[in-house]
């Protein structure tokens, strides 16, 4: 592969997957800065050690997930993430009035808190499932078997429903 081809290829991959990866990471961590750092690191590793036999998108998500986990540990932010940090959730959409904005922020806060009460693996499998990954790809990312991914998704759905269903109407 020539330099220009390589550059084109990596740039294309970046344009294709960066936004989706960033969105997933923000949902996973509730921290936009951490999400941006992890997404960048995943693409850097893609250049340094490209996957030989795995789908690039799944590989990027798996690497970024591991980066987030390791970084969170390193920053001692791990406990914060596990115990919930709804205040850190990205706030606000443009174009809303003050009341709407406040209401949206409240809803997000509740969802964020419910997500943060899931275990790291449960949150990861749930969010990766939402991104459309197959169970075997999710299993690679979280380091488990394909069979147990179904169990974790079921548990995550049950927990989330237990947290949010009582307030479901108010969330709509």
């Amino acid at each position: 592969m020539t330099q220009s081809e390589e550059r084109l290829n990596v740039t294309q991959l970046f344009l294709q997957h960066y936004d989706g990866l960033y969105r997933y990471l923000v949902r996973l961590t509730g921290d936009a800065d951490l999400a941006a750092d992890a997404a960048q690191e995943a693409f850097v590793r893609l250049v340094e050690r490209p996957p030989q036999d795995r789908h690039v998108r799944a590989w990027l998500f798996a690497v970024a997930t591991n980066v987030v986990r390791d970084t969170a540990r390193a920053r001692a932010r791990w406990m914060t993430l596990l115990m919930g940090s709804p205040d850190r959730a990205p706030m606000g959409d443009a174009g809303q009035g003050p009341d709407d904005a406040a209401e949206s922020a409240e809803r997000r806060k509740v969802v964020r808190a419910a997500l943060d009460r899931l275990s790291w693996k449960e949150r990861t499998v749930l969010l990766m499932r939402e991104e459309g990954f197959a169970h075997h790809e999710i299993a690679d990312a979280v380091g488990t078997t394909t069979g147990s991914v179904g169990t974790m998704i079921a548990r995550a759905l049950n927990k989330l429903a237990g947290e949010l269903a009582p307030t479901s109407e108010s969330l709509r």
């Binding site: 550059r7 936004d19 923000v26 941006a36 990205p90 964020r112 759905l157």
Partner: protein, 316 residues
Amino acid sequence: MSVTAGSRHLGDDDLIRYMDHQLDREGQRLMGAHLRTCAGCTARLEGFRQKSALAKEWLDLLPAEMPDPNKRAVALAALDRTRFRRRSVPMATAWMKAAAAVILLVSVGMATEPMRAFVARGVVRLGGGEPGSAARRLVEWLGQERQLQKPELARARPLPAAVPELGPAAEPGAAAPAAATRPRPAERPAPPKRGVSAPITFTPAGPDVSLVFNSVQAAGSATIWIREVPRANVQAVRGYRNEELVTGADGLEVRNRPGSRADYVITIPTRYRYILVKVADGPEVRIGITKSKREWVWTIGLQNSALDQQLPSEEP
């Protein structure tokens, strides 16, 4: 998945995999068959579908914000830097590999005698034939002490290259003394050339010096030079092919062969009384050394053993 139609209820993981279409065709068919007959599993599946749809709604409440353009730009720049570094690495790696290969070759080569001798010669030459103490220690460490001896012997060598040019049976006392007495500038001893042996000094213990050639040769000659030198010495100056020059208490034995073609220069100090020369099975010829024979040179052919016909009479 171990469930068949009409058997026990499906597990949550089975239902999720069925719902997410993560089973193969046969698995999906078996699950579907079971669900058609099992109201309980169907209800649980429906429950998961609702929870899944709700989860999607809830997750969609989280902001799908786009990354900060500055952060995107920073990430792209980081990618470019990484690409540049990555392209640079193979060159550095190539140099490191080449260096490692050279070091490996030298290391392996140092385990062999020819390589050690080569390195020792290089060290001695770099030192101008007179290496310093560190260089000497290195040469000794390489087990090549003989490389240190060569320059010393070369300094004591009496003009080996000039004498054979006299030709066979040159007139004693004519050209050679003139050449020998000509003042010469100090020279760095030249390394042995191809076909030239290392010079060897020897000191016979008795009053006479014995020179024995084990065989007649296909070609070549021996030049015997009587000089005011402290020690006798010998060197094959041309056509040398590993003939052995063996020195002992009596003098010199040249272990040559019928096919040999070497020329030898043998310098004998004037303090000895006689030179006893013998070629192959020929008669031993005795040459007396007198004061008048200082700087005298005889060149004898080694193609036959009849030395008495070649050597000048003792009293000219």
